[in-house]
Subunit: 219 residues, 2 copies
DNA sequence: AATCTATTCAATTAATATGTTGAATAGTTG
DNA sequence: CAACTATTCAACATATTAATTGAATAGATT
């Protein structure tokens, strides 16, 4: 049988996909790109790495067809190719979180470090939010909010939070969200707000989780 | 902010999961193990690699907690840890198949090489099979059938097919399935059957796909 | 057409992965 | 408890990967 050759070829192609996300920096790139398209320079800042190295990582992702490019003026904008990439990353995360006590511990340590005692999930938001009359704020950078956000959320980027606290109610619960479970902007926002006696709580799930949920319901 | 350190740690943990399946041989191992538990020696035969190397790959998978072990007499049996691993591999496959013309081409070449013109999917089976009164045969090794199979399927391992052709009807459509889209046993079976003037067709999806479908419906 | 600039390529070094052999180990069986 | 055997470990050679720096390129702007 010449079956082994077929198998080998197919498995090698599949391994190319997983190899592309088998590196922590590339994983981070995919996660950032899950929000919206970015230029190489922006991405290099986001993942704290030189532009040249970032570009190389992006080439790997591109050759695995996980991201694609489009030129916009002087910049080349990288984007996730399609929503199946989000599903893949979500599957990895689910497995990683479930399996690795280390991850939970690391996140837990980070939270207790900031006096974060409880947090919402997307389910909490969808089930309880209407009754309780909460205020939902999106603390990601404005450009990411513009690229897509959870309905009824108000954009208050973390960087502007201190100046814009007067826009927020003291008598209602404030729920802050950001990119997703690995993003700490919402945690930082809640810490800041609670110091000023707001009733704030952060939501673990972010825009990507909401988007995936919406995709599921469409089917 | 000490956020980068959290991110780095978390992404490194997640990358450990994907790194484990970023190698074609390990991908193959996971695929084989999706059927049932196997000993190291059996696996080494299945993926055509030395026992020592196979063991090393299995260590990588184990440290990523994608597989787990259990001793049975003299043998150590490796198993998939849980169904989320199947979901992950399924997500990878979906992405790989959709994105890579190479994979489709390779499989197509293989099929035309064997005069496979059409094939069933799991949906076809579930929708049409009842009306048409087909016979469903499982051509995987008997041990894998015993570990779990699609309801109403009859076990006729590929290796026994020639001898047991008398058990099969000439007046009904015969649908053959095996491990899944990357497995060619069903294709080989259909080729053999059609040479002997049976009305046989192969199903691309296999036991794993059926199992995943069943899991979805349970939720 | 010349300049400017974001991005990519090339060359390098250090680190890590792969697959092979053959020896060591641990657990079972007689 | 001795012998057996499946599995793992250790050591090696080879190959691949990661990150840096500095140069090259390609495309847009003036």
């Amino acid at each position: 049988m010449a079956t082994s050759s077929l198998k080998e070829q197919v498995y090698q192609e599949l391994a190319r996909v997983t190899h592309a996300i088998s590196n922590s920096k590339r994983m981070e790139l995919i996660d950032v790109l899950s929000q919206k398209g970015f230029s190489v320079e922006e991405l290099s800042k986001e993942i704290a790495m030189s532009v040249a190295s970032t570009s190389q990582h992006l080439q790997v992702l591109k050759s695995a067809k996980l991201v694609e490019t489009e030129r916009q003026g002087n910049f080349i904008i990288y984007r996730i190719t399609d929503d199946n990439v989000l599903k893949l990353v979500s599957a990895v995360r689910e497995l990683g979180f479930r399996k690795f006590a280390e991850i939970e511990r690391v996140i837990h340590d980070f939270k207790t470090d900031r006096n974060i005692l409880e947090s919402y999930t997307l389910d909490d938001l969808l089930l309880r939010a209407r009754k309780e009359k909460v205020m939902l704020i999106d603390v990601r950078p404005e450009a990411e909010y513009d690229a897509g956000h959870i309905p009824n959320a108000v954009s208050i980027p973390l960087t502007q939070l201190k100046k814009r606290m007067n826009e927020l109610p003291k008598d209602r619960k404030i729920i802050a969200y950001c990119r997703g479970p690995l993003c700490v902007m919402a945690i930082d926002a809640v810490k800041l707000l609670n110091q000023k006696k707001f009733n704030a709580i952060h939501m673990e799930d972010g825009y990507v989780e909401w988007k995936l949920r919406a995709l599921e319901n469409r089917n």
